[in-house]
């Protein structure tokens, strides 16, 4: 690392030794902040933010130049005051992240992400005790809004970070400076009994980018306890200045993600498949419930366009939904005088998309491991996955009907055959039940369906699956299946029976929408 030239000029290089992906993302964040500052000055909007130093942004470095070494304190203070702001609603606003200031609801969603990653410790921010609320107004819904609760912020650590970077004479600090998890999440003191000796210390050239990693990275919330930090791979600072605003979620439904793979793929659909992104998942662990520890990392380099287009199909079929609160609807219908101008809703997201996103990232077939969804319990909710998946039957049906989603013909063929077979089988049961005893009619289809599901989920080997599917296909009344297709599917089962089991269950779940609808109708009748 080069020393700071006569304490007046500092050159921050993207590829300098010791620059980790987070440092590089931070340097990108600094470039975005300086660019936003410059843009504000030229447009006349930022007259309060005149900058007391010269800077130059090259593709792989940033140079900051002071007129006098003693100007360092003033320069850094102004840079940090511009870069780390709090708006009138008490929300963290980082101008480097946006082309123009966004709605407060977006900032509230992003703030939830910061508080689960960089700013999770009480010492790194000051929050109000009571919750406030802002709302997303949906342009397409017209009279819809999605409320977002947050606690007003009055200070966060990055705002006063400039004080650590200068010495007592107001010049750039030449001694290594200690970092903590508010600027480098996860980089904690190794041995608390020996804090001074085992803290991570960095020189100024690496610590200044780290402060701006809050700007360069994207922190998102999965729920109230789990956060995802996306660290983009910065290769060209000029390019990143254009990319960074596009990295942000564009709609209310995109502000929450399901897991790291989903977050990465959503970000890539917005920015482009070529941008490499690393992610870190933060959540409480059984041995440290009071903090959100790093529990998982994921590195995804450039992806091919096919993967992104597949994810786009998946996202369209299983996109997050805005659901109305029942009480609000009732109130608005019963009391005409107190009808609200906007109906409140909340965001509901897909369970299946998280599995599919992980498969796409791991370059596995998108439906791999679907059978586990039919037998396991969701650890976050304590409910069975299969009960939750049932709500997505329509989306899954749309998904399997899209030709671009299938990698091989055999997959589409097998799913189609199983669906035809189940349709035939259940229609036979239904008509038989209606003829024999009218009372048993509502449950017959459901039982038959459950029987098939259990048999498929319990299949343990290739021969078991082969005999089960052969039996199912033979019993059904489907006339659409040709012997060539039948043999093709049997060959596919022999080739990879686990994939076939996943596909069979998937076909069954897509069919289940019709069964449950029918049951509901009959029960209500």
């Amino acid at each position: 690392m080069e020393s700071i030239n006569d304490l007046k000029t500092i050159e921050l290089e993207l590829h300098a030794p010791g620059m980790s992906p987070l440092h590089r993302a931070g340097l990108g964040g600094l470039a975005c902040t300086l660019h936003a500052w410059q843009k504000g000055m030229y447009s006349g909007a930022g007259t309060n933010w005149d900058y007391p130093f010269r800077f130059e942004i090259k593709t792989d470095s940033i140079t900051l130049e002071l007129s006098e070494p003693q100007q360092a304190a003033n320069a850094l203070q102004k840079l940090f005051e511009f870069g780390f702001q709090i708006n009138s609603d008490g929300l963290i606003f980082l101008p480097g992240q946006f082309h123009s200031p966004p709605d407060s609801a977006f900032l509230a969603d992003l703030q939830a992400g910061y508080l689960l990653t960089f700013l999770q410790h009480g010492t790194s921010r000051k929050l109000a005790k009571n919750e406030s609320q802002v709302s997303h107004h949906l342009p397409d819904g017209g009279s819809w809004e999605v409320p977002v609760a947050y606690r007003k912020c009055s200070w966060f650590k990055q705002q006063s970070g400039w004080k650590d970077l200068i010495d007592q004479h107001g010049r750039f600090q030449t001694q290594p400076i200690r970092i903590d998890s508010s600027i480098y999440p996860g980089a904690s003191i190794r041995h608390f009994a020996f804090k001074n000796q085992t803290a991570i210390k960095e020189p100024l050239k690496r610590i200044l980018p780290l402060y701006f990693s809050l700007v360069g990275c994207l922190a998102m919330a999965v729920n109230r306890g789990v956060g995802i930090l996306l660290v983009p791979e910065v290769k060209d600072l000029h390019e990143f200045i254009q990319q960074r605003p596009r990295l942000n979620p564009q709609h209310a439904s995109e502000c929450r993600v399901l897991n790291s793979a989903d977050a990465i793929l959503q970000a890539k659909t917005r920015v482009g498949a070529k941008l490499g992104i690393n992610s870190v998942t933060f959540q409480p662990t059984p041995w440290a419930l009071q903090i959100k520890s790093r529990v998982k990392t994921c590195e995804v380099a450039a992806l091919d366009d096919l993967t992104i287009s597949q994810f786009q199909i998946v996202y369209d079929a299983l996109r997050p939904r805005i659901v109305a609160l029942e009480s609000d609807l009732n109130r608005s219908s019963s009391k005409q005088t107190t009808v609200k101008a906007f109906q409140s809703g909340y965001r509901v997201d897909s369970i299946m998309r998280s599995l599919i996103a992980e498969n796409l990232i791991d370059r596995k077939p998108w439906y791999s491991g679907f059978s586990s969804m039919m037998s396991k319990t969701n650890p976050n909710t304590g409910r069975l996955f299969r009960d939750q998946v049932m709500y997505e039957a329509q989306g899954l049906h749309q998904l399997i009907s899209t030709p671009g989603i299938w990698g091989r013909d055999e997959e589409r063929l097998l799913v189609g055959m199983i669906q035809n077979a189940v349709t035939g089988l259940l229609s036979g049961k239904r008509s038989g039940a209606i003829h024999s005893a009218r009372r048993s009619a509502p449950s017959t289809c459901g039982w038959a369906y459950e029987k098939i599901r259990l048999k498929l989920a319990r299949t343990q080997c290739q021969s078991q699956l082969r005999s089960l599917l052969s039996q199912l296909l033979n019993q059904s009344r489907s006339k659409k299946t040709s012997s060539t297709e039948y043999n093709q599917c049997l060959a596919f089962i022999n080739e990879d029976w686990l994939r076939c089991r996943d596909l069979s269950l998937l076909a069954l779940v897509c069919f289940s929408g019709r069964v449950s609808e029918e049951q509901k109708l009959k029960q209500s009748a």
Binding site: H15, G186, F192, W287, K296
Partner: protein, 212 residues
């Protein structure tokens, strides 16, 4: 330049900043390779072979997995205190097969160089005084076997390896000298991880071991 072929059943090359969820590099950094070679020849003075160049190349494709393990953190200076132990996740690499490339041309030639000592240790192990198990990464990550490839030109065919090589505009930064207590004196180099034919390696691409 010599190549040292090493196989390790399980290993972890922990990233410097990873103090919770212990992440691993894909390859051992040059500093780790250097420490391994010093241990192999029974050298306790880490300054002894400064100036040598060393890097690692992966021949196999290791499998990454995550385990839950016991981690020591001194919160209480009393070593028996219970709060000094906690669990944490650690990434492990399984079935590593590596070639460590070592070049001693720029070492102090007045004394036996590291490449010569490595060759003599593996040829006449009875003449070397060393102690402890030989491990790559953590002390519990013992190596399976070590052998020398003396001349690159004698390598069979197009043997390719995934290696860390110097590159001023690279995206990887790995340590060539580690400050184990504080982090301030750790020295890094910039490079890229690339798949290369082992016959086409040049000395200038291999990181040099130099303290800060």
């Amino acid at each position: 330049m010599i190549g040292v072929r090493v196989t390790v059943p399980i290993s972890c090359f922990r990233k410097g900043y990873a103090r919770e969820y212990l992440e691993t590099h894909l390859l051992p950094p040059p500093a780790t390779c250097y420490g391994f070679l010093l241990s192999l020849v029974g050298e306790c003075d880490r300054q002894r072979h400064i100036g040598c160049r060393v890097t690692a190349g992966l021949i196999s494709a290791p499998v990454k997995s995550v385990v839950l393990r016991k981690v020591w953190r001194v919160k209480n200076p009393r070593p028996e205190a219970r709060e000094n132990i906690r669990p944490d996740y650690q990434e492990l690499l399984s079935n590593l097969e590596l070639v460590l490339w070592l070049d001693s041309a720029e070492e102090d030639r007045s004394r036996p160089t590291l490449d010569k000592r490595v060759c003599s240790t593996l040829e006449y192990p009875e003449h070397t005084h060393r102690f402890g198990g030989l491990s790559l990464g953590e002390s519990t990550h013992l190596v399976n076997d070590v052998s020398v490839i003396k001349e690159i030109s004698k390598l069979k065919g197009d043997l390719e390896a995934t290696m860390f090589l110097l590159d001023a505009r690279g995206e990887q930064t790995l340590p060539v000298w580690v400050d184990h207590v504080q982090s301030t004196n750790t020295r890094y180099v910039t490079g890229t991880i690339q798949t290369r034919n082992l016959n086409t390696l040049s000395r200038d691409e291999i990181p040099m071991i130099i303290p800060p």
